[in-house]
Symmetry: C2
Subunit: 284 residues, 2 copies
Amino acid sequence: MILKGSEVSRAMKDRAASDVDRLKRKGVLPHLALVRLGDRPDDRTYERSAIKKCEGWGIRWSVFSYPEDTSQEELIREIKKLNQDASIHGILVFRPLPRHIREDAVQYAMDPEKDVDCFSPINVAKVFEGDSSGFAPCTPEAVLEILDFYRIPIEGKNIVVVGRSMVVGRPVAMLLLQRHGTVTICHTRTANRAEICRNAEILVAAAGRPGLITPDDVGQGAVVIDVGTNVDEKGNLCGDVRFDEVRAKAGYLTPVPGGVGTVTTSVLARHVVQAAMRACGESQ
Amino acid sequence: MILKGSEVSRAMKDRAASDVDRLKRKGVLPHLALVRLGDRPDDRTYERSAIKKCEGWGIRWSVFSYPEDTSQEELIREIKKLNQDASIHGILVFRPLPRHIREDAVQYAMDPEKDVDCFSPINVAKVFEGDSSGFAPCTPEAVLEILDFYRIPIEGKNIVVVGRSMVVGRPVAMLLLQRHGTVTICHTRTANRAEICRNAEILVAAAGRPGLITPDDVGQGAVVIDVGTNVDEKGNLCGDVRFDEVRAKAGYLTPVPGGVGTVTTSVLARHVVQAAMRACGESQ
């Protein structure tokens, strides 16, 4: 069974619609600021998807783009301006930032209440602690949205996460742990990856390596969530999972494109709506 | 082979001695503030161990004890005073705090530079991110000190952590992941715990349940680190591992008492020395 991101996204939009309406009746238009330094193609691609999603949800968006050589101090100043701007509810800073900027210096500048993709250490710590009052990063949360939409249980399941980045691997492991999964984190230094992965009831591929996950890594009937967003030799978007080969063995499988990525921007949109609700004192 | 905490602690003290001397020659005496609300026996026991360790290392200590009904605002005010006090390099707040105080409100008050047991979300986020510039919590770091002292490799090993608390389970999992272990986190909702644990090359028992780990949970020759500090029916300190039964099966095993606990206070002492070094601009 193919787990389609578009169905998950549609349901999320439907669920959020009443909140967006309520805000509009109060004269509040949820508003996302996208902060981009330079012109990385990855960033531009994600920006286009995010804008499209915002427009679909009735969310206002603004792009704040700066030259790639913008200084760290200037970026911090701009983020602080956006923190102060009451018309803006959510801020997304594209990462990785250019090399001359220390992310760990910039992340403190972000208002945690507007930090819709978990850049601030306050939100990072909350994800680690299992405190759901902050904003988790969008991609890991999208993985859980897909599992929940398709009613795939997490509690007590053996779950293997391949990859340990702060963008996906570590936070998705913590979110799944919080939902009572038994979670193993594998990575490039793992000795017996295929064996470990084959034992997973749910396998989350988040290594960022095209074609890494073969049928040998997948147990019969397992749920496989492909978080990879890679570009293959032909320039096409592809995941970490060899879709055509794994399809026969997995019980459930997300495609790339059309899987996690689609849901990620929906989580982003929902975070902006949530941030707007909180800013104007609405309960959720 | 029994992994003795006292040997690890002695080596840590020897390594730190030159730093303590260097600070003293500069007229700086590393100084730990212990902040305690009420009189919980656990806190008093740990306090006595910490004081004894400080005295052994030549570290100054002060206990700031307050009534159990101290208000959250007052506690925050006291912590901020300690932040400001240049004679104090490290602050340890005993946890859990009384129920009327929200830990997540207090933790922001702590200066991350003096936060020697990872209470501030800044340090919590760093542990999650694998950034070693902050202070990890003492007990999880003690587990790594023991493995390193006894030259037990971590990289590429299958490691199972039983327990997912923020005091031990989650942070020790992240520290071991950072050292390239393949880490599984088990907990009360794990379906097949014994089977998973038996596959571990290194098993870290941090559930806080006396006698939880039986020989059935231990693979032949495995390294077993017992982080449990429980009190049995007779009032004696005991770990999570059935020591006498597991001993025959494990390759290496830490006792309780005399294992991780001993090293925990040494990590605390070293953090105080590190904080003092940083405060006076010494490199480490």
